[in-house]
Symmetry: C2
Subunit: 213 residues, 2 copies
DNA sequence: GCTAAATATGAGGCATTCCTCACATTGTGC
DNA sequence: GCACAATGTGAGGAATGCCTCATATTTAGC
């Protein structure tokens, strides 16, 4: 029996009807969180929007944050799946380094353009439990490792310490794209930014071991 | 007369006693927000910690978020002052590009190591009003422009579009350092990361206009 | 020292939200 | 079609936190 924690559901839906209920709740929660923000979202409102009674909601989620977490986990799963899908070709044919990096950036842009407002609420506003944040970081690391492997197929790539390079690479792209999509600065368009990023990463990965001050 | 908005104080402290009260409230708020996080922080608790009655608190702050905002603004002011102080030498003598970039990174690290837990609560957890976020972005842009000017003193620096480059530079360093300090990954130390970042930026800024895919 | 303004107090009203529970409805397996 | 399990309902209890206000104390200015 799974431990009865602050986030575990009380009951798992077994009949189709119940599964539909859970689905409706998650869909409604996504809408309400997105529109009202985390703080203003109430369980009553989610239930109402889902066309379901609060009682039903509490059959499957012990509290508001459990809904948030379920939603976030689903969002993260979808996100990684999307990025992998966009990078999958790079696993079969080996594109030029520049193209590979560009694909990575483009994939990250696509990722952040999927439900950006919900994304913002989940990752900038909601108090995600540290367990979820840890889980996310773990998956980011795995992803970084995969990207790293892709890069090492290129002879011109020089990495002092692949772990550090992968960390910098993934977090740089993620952070810049995140910021750009969710808080668009004036006077900068996506293309210039993409170019600039690709150029920076390309320079970094194929640079001679230069003087570093 | 200043407009009576959701964030303006009702009364400004004029006597020394009142100034001390406001100060005590802000100090207490910093402690409580840092220790309990945003959601669990109550105005009653802040007042108690400040050794002041709730009533007094509400003389100077119309609500909980006004305290958060005041605290954030102060934190931001302190932060920019610190970074400027650390970069001020670079304004008189012109260090080698590598040293300049290293200084920038080191300054950012110092910035994030000042009250990191409070920093995390303010910028990752608290629902900062968009006015505050906008204000912050404006100051970041100003800062980026200044850094850009420093860079242009170096003949080897090539920037296609200084605006974009400055944006990428500042946000990359900020995001990476922020992440690293507030969510330390295992197996990566500050020095390796600093080196890697400096190398990347250096490569980027002094790179030939290479093929970009 | 006296008066008026500034400041401080804290019990409790008000509003809000979370969540339960007793009961109703629907589905399943035989 | 029956009995039991699964699911659904929603009014309202309980808890919490924000903030007010009537009153008390301190300070400033004369």
């Amino acid at each position: 029996m799974a431990p009865r924690t602050r986030l575990n559901p009380r009951k798992r839906p077994s009949q189709a009807r119940a599964k539909a209920t859970v689905e409706a709740i998650l869909v409604a929660a996504a809408q309400v969180f997105r529109r009202q923000g985390y703080a203003a979202t109430t369980t009553d409102r989610i239930a109402e929007r889902a066309g379901v009674s609060v009682g039903s909601l509490y059959q499957y989620f012990p509290n508001k944050d459990a809904i948030l977490v379920a939603l976030t986990e689903r969002h993260i799963d979808t996100g990684f799946a999307l990025v992998r899908e966009l990078l999958v070709e790079a696993l079969t044919d080996v594109p030029a380094l520049g193209s590979l990096l560009r694909r990575l950036v483009v994939a990250m842009v696509a990722l952040h353009e999927h439900e950006p407002e919900l994304h913002r609420v989940l990752f900038e506003e909601a108090p995600l439990p540290s367990s979820v944040r840890r889980q996310l970081r773990k998956r980011e690391n795995e992803f970084a490792t995969e990207v790293c492997a892709l890069l090492q197929a290129h002879p011109e790539v020089r990495m002092r310490d692949p772990k550090v390079t992968a960390y910098v690479l993934v977090h740089t792209v993620d952070a810049l794209v995140h910021n750009f999509i969710l808080h668009p600065p004036e006077g900068i368009d996506a293309e210039s930014l993409t170019d600039e990023m690709v150029r920076m990463l390309l320079g970094h990965l194929s640079a001679d071991e230069a003087f570093t001050g």
